[in-house]
């Protein structure tokens, strides 16, 4: 799985219910370790950005975005709770970093995705030749 990517990787933290069932002390502990983990990565230059996301949100869909629903679902294992942007070159390294997430033992999941040079909406929606170039 040692694919290279010059554009870095995004860590998407999923699960907004992992802290349920933890005592206040445990919550404090995990929260502090998560912050320290992020700060360490920033200092090493391996992370360039990251934020937790507030639990409220909206999901816009349909032509011209005419449907606006409340989201994400409360207590969901898939809800996005935050993200990091990593400045590492290989999937292996991005995965190794993801495996250190302090939320993992409590049920959080970390999605690791290679960042593309293409625009965020087109993503992979480009002619095959260009896609081959971007993935190289």
């Amino acid at each position: 799985m040692n694919t290279q990517n010059q554009n870095g990787y995004m860590l998407i933290f999923r699960g907004n219910d992992w802290h349920k069932g933890l005592s206040p002390e445990e919550m404090q502990n995990v929260s502090e370790r998560w912050m320290a983990w992020f700060k360490g990565l920033l200092e090493e230059g391996k992370a360039v950005a990251g934020n937790p996301l507030a639990p409220e949100g909206k999901i816009v869909s349909g032509k011209s975005g005419r449907v606006v629903a409340d989201g994400p679902f409360a207590e969901s294992k898939e809800a996005v709770g935050g993200y990091f942007l990593l400045n590492v070159d290989s999937m292996d390294e991005a995965v190794a970093i993801a495996q250190m997430c302090p939320g993992l033992p409590h049920g959080a999941k970390v999605e690791v995705r290679p960042v593309l040079a293409e625009c965020p909406l087109s993503g992979e929606a480009v002619p095959d030749a260009q896609l081959a170039g971007a993935a190289a």
Partner: protein, 139 residues
Amino acid sequence: MNAIEMSNNGYLLLFHTSDWWKNLGREELEKYVAQSNEWIGQLMTSGKASGGQGLARSGAVISSKNGRSVTDGPFAESKEVVGGYLLLNVETFEEAVAIAKTAPNLGFGSKVEVRPLTDTCPAQARLEELKREEELAPA
């Protein structure tokens, strides 16, 4: 990779998408790509967007204690994944939602999630909520 200015204010747009573009012809695809590049370009130029990137339709999901479980992508065809993100530098949720509604990929079935950035992790926020409840609880 461009370093993105750290901010705790603002909003994140997450584009949830299946691989609908596989059904488009070359011309439609080029038109769509031009449209979305223009959309992003305008937002960046006006300063309303501070960064954004597409994500490859591959990756891995890490789970379980110590991250022992590593499930590889690519993701199954037509499964909805986060195809990209955009960081918005606007003041209100309403404005972020209004921008989300103009995303060119909506017409093809993509969904746009709008979330406020925060500097408080969900556990910390929950902790503070509990403390407030304690303070308010009758002695």
